[in-house]
């Protein structure tokens, strides 16, 4: 198994804060599949910069409010 990307995220937390939007609905809103949202939430996949911005904009926050560097 390869090393996990050193990027943390608050996607699940933000989904729950925003009317518990489903993984599928978030995926559709930002142009990725539900499985990619699951992989992001589990820390198995770091999205592209464009998708990171789309996710942040969907929640009305900045990219750094969604994604962070491990240990910081």
């Amino acid at each position: 198994m390869s090393k996990r990307p050193p990027i943390t995220n608050r996607v699940r937390e933000l989904r729950e804060e925003h009317d518990r939007i489903s993984q599928a609905a978030l995926g559709e809103a930002v142009g990725v599949t539900r499985h990619t949202i699951i992989a992001i939430e589990q820390g198995r996949y770091s999205p592209s910069l464009e998708t990171a911005f789309r996710i942040a904009r969907r929640f009305g926050v900045g990219v750094e409010d969604v994604f962070g560097w491990e240990g910081e």
Binding site: M1, T36, Y45, P47, S48
Partner: protein, 135 residues
């Protein structure tokens, strides 16, 4: 399991089953004209692939219509890269064996075999990359 992973499993299984069948046909008559096993093999792959893709698309029409996303594209590209190397290795090996005395018929079968193996490797690697951590 995502639509593309299901598709990779099904297509990999089809390529494996038809590949074994092709190998059996060739082993039964190694020096027979290439067309003999090749035409039924190609027809079987085409028909089974169409039937499988139609069944998968009917079962998940929305996912089937959606293009691959960035994570899936990265997995598909990486799998294609490595399967290309498998194909190249198989073709070069077949040519070397031909130079070493294999007939032209066996050369063609070996190249078709390399294509089959590289396609199976491509689907297997797609599944691997869909599942593992990806940057």
């Amino acid at each position: 399991m995502s639509f593309r992973e299901k598709s990779a499993w099904v297509m990999g299984a089809i390529m494996l089953a038809t590949g074994l069948w092709y190998a059996q046909l060739v082993a039964a008559a190694p020096q027979a004209p290439v067309i003999g096993p090749l035409i039924p093999y190609v027809l079987a792959v085409i028909v089974l692939s169409i039937v499988a893709q139609v069944i998968l698309a009917v079962a998940s029409p929305k996912e089937a219509d959606a293009p691959a996303d960035e994570r899936e594209r990265a997995a598909i590209d990486r799998a294609g890269h490595f399967s290309g190397a498998v194909l190249g290795f198989g073709v070069i090996t077949a040519i070397v064996m031909h130079i070493g005395g294999w007939s032209a018929t066996l050369l063609v079968h070996a190249i078709v075999g390399a294509l089959i193996v590289s396609t199976i490797a491509e689907y297997a690697l797609q599944i691997f990359y869909f599942r593992r951590a990806t940057r």
